[in-house]
């Protein structure tokens, strides 16, 4: 009898303790494209977030736990709208991470704004996300202008390029990046010989490469495509003798779209490729090396994380940091984010500007693909 009484008291105590612990939960909704072609991003995003959750659980979170609910937004505005409503209803999150595609990210922004829930975006590039006046949107992924402007500076300044052919995938992101290059390049006196777009279902680029070869002397070819198509494109350009990798003259330029490992896939065609990277596995910073070690421990020794893994990983790091600084709900998370200055994550340092865009690009640097397909860091800025 006494024992039963003690165990009842004990269980009540435990329940009360658990109930109290229940209060110290930060609810995080995650909208990722898990089905369809967009799952290219979603699979990597989920890997990054899963790993980050494990890692931050080992750190001091002031007694808080992170509770995550994943939803499949399939890169489509319809699915994104449905799933954001679902997650708002079921989880009542303090913060929603998403999405990877620009259309979907833009679709959920007004809904989250109205619900006064912070949206932390780590994958879209469209300027509209941070130019529409949303107070609850924060983005750590460089937007289209931030990606393309340095390319123009280097193209005109270091590479002394007069002519350019812009190649881009026919999506919101591709369009924005292409325009982000074209406008300043032309303003700086350059000439865009052609702006060539292609759908995501194009497999063969020899016709495009032949067309470029017929345009005359092309100095730089800024390209905005995902790695699958970029490999084929580079190979075709090399075959057509348009780019340095194939004995031609033009320099391929790119932004942070291509993951580590692209150069090995493209082979010699990638030699001479000049691009900006944000997540560089060669970086010696502790947070980067720790991330890579943990990643390889969890996902396999041969796998090097990509920037998509890294950006997703960083979102959880940022949430954790906000919690450590006293955030406990959506409003306080938002306040902490606005005050972030030089918060260090794997993709660099985070300082959100007034529009919610991370404006610290100190880690972004140029690399050039060498003959042995490794990256050589360039000190151009």
């Amino acid at each position: 009898m006494k024992r039963a009484f003690i165990s009842v008291v004990f269980s009540f105590g435990a329940l009360a303790f658990a109930a109290q612990a229940q209060d110290k939960v930060i609810r995080v909704g995650v909208l990722m494209p898990i089905s369809g072609p967009g799952s290219y991003f979603g699979v990597m995003g989920k890997e990054g977030i899963d790993l980050a959750l494990e890692q931050v659980a080992k750190t001091d979170l002031k007694g808080y736990k992170l509770q995550v609910q994943y939803e499949d937004s399939a890169c489509s505005p319809l699915q994104a709208t449905n799933t954001v409503k679902r997650v708002l209803d079921q989880l009542k999150p303090h913060i929603v991470i998403g999405e990877e595609c620009s259309d979907a990210s833009l679709a959920i922004a007004p809904i989250l704004e109205q619900a006064k829930v912070v949206q932390l975006n780590a994958g879209s590039v469209t300027m509209k996300l941070t130019e529409s006046g949303y107070k609850y949107v924060f983005r750590i992924f460089p937007n289209a202008e931030q990606q393309s402007a340095p390319l123009v500076k280097v193209a005109r300044g270091h590479l002394k390029a007069q002519t350019a052919v812009i190649l881009y995938e026919k999506t919101n992101a591709g369009n924005d990046n292409a325009e982000g290059f074209e406008k300043p390049f032309v303003a700086a006196g350059g000439k865009v010989l052609a702006k060539i777009d292609f759908g995501r279902d194009v497999n063969d680029f020899t016709a495009i490469a032949t067309r470029i070869a017929s345009l005359g002397k092309v100095d730089v070819l800024p390209t905005f495509a995902l790695e699958g198509q970029q490999v084929r494109l580079s190979q075709a350009l090399a075959q057509a003798n348009v780019v340095k990798g194939g004995g031609g003259h033009g320099v391929q330029m790119g932004s942070i779209w291509l993951p580590w490992g692209y150069d090995q896939k493209a082979g010699q065609a990638a030699v001479g490729y000049v691009r900006i990277v944000q997540f560089d596995p060669n970086e010696k910073r502790k947070v980067v090396q720790d991330f890579i070690k943990a990643f390889q421990l969890k996902y396999g020794a041969g796998k090097t994380p990509t920037h998509i893994n890294a950006h997703a990983y960083d979102t959880i790091l940022l949430v954790a940091e906000a919690v450590r600084r006293g955030a406990k709900d959506s409003e306080t998370i938002r306040e902490q984010f606005t005050q972030f200055k030089d918060v260090e994550v794997t993709t660099g340092k985070i300082s959100f500007d007034k529009k919610g865009q991370n404006s610290d690009l100190s880690v972004v640097h140029f690399v050039e693909t060498q003959k042995d397909l490794s990256w050589k860091g360039l000190s151009w800025q």
Binding site: I34, S35, E71, D72, S76, P77, L78, T81, N82, K85, R86, L88, D89, Q90, D103, L106, A107, P110, I111, K128, K170, T171, N172, N175
Partner: protein, 309 residues
Amino acid sequence: MTGVFTGKRGIAFLLALIVIAAAPWLLNSAYWRGILVLCAMNVLLALSLNLVLGYTGQLNLGQSAFFGIGAYVSTILIKTYGWNFWLAALAAVAAAGLVGLALAAFAARLRGHYLAIASLGFAVITYQVLVNWESVTQGVRGIYGILPPVPNAVALFYLVAGIGLLVYFLLDNLVHSPVGDTLRAIREDEVSAAALGVNGAVWKAFAFGLGAAIAGLAGCFYPGFVGTLVPDAFGIVESFTMMAMVIVGGMGTMIGPVIGAVVLTFLPELLRGFGELRLMIYGVALTLVVLFMPGGMVQAWIAFKNKLA
């Protein structure tokens, strides 16, 4: 038109009204109400396709094109030219219907698989126009900040479901009229029908045009519901989904498409817990239904009732 509210049909109509009225309160979260609106739109789409596919027997694989035309025409008129929603919707429905007539005129001589691929090709061309005519449609950039004609989800559901009910009612009368007999004659055997004096081309055009107009009507509500309009919402996959709804529900019946639309709107949502397996289950379900239950759920229900009798 015999007494509207008498007999079985009257009871069914009343029942439908009650279900529609109660649904947003039984499923009273923002998320499920959104799904209800989507369901109502899908019912309209399934009904529109069923008219062409089920009753007139025309293999139309490109219905999503008319859905898209309705969505884009109405949105552009509202956003760029400041039209009022209802006038824009009227124009969009007319536009979709006209394009449907054009497809029918073009495809007048085509049968079976030729028509199927032609309609598919037509859908691809429409999609490409939406993507490439950037000055008008914004292409892949998309159009944002689109408002629905009524302020909240419940009202929107009532509006679309109400229209769906009306369309159902009108189509039901149509298929039970001599027009319906004509369409069915064309479906069964176009050559013999011609021998009986039926002008196949005219009636096929009618079916295509009306089906396209209804799909266009559904399209008017879509952008306001999502808030965002991109061409990707109107591709081949959407056409196939509509077809699946018609077939799974029961092609060539009136209630079949409704059932199919409801099932295939709610099923993917209920399968969300399955992650990657969701679409796989979808594919298996579709194949199995077509193989073993060709008349769809309506057929299964009738067989079930017969077993009980």
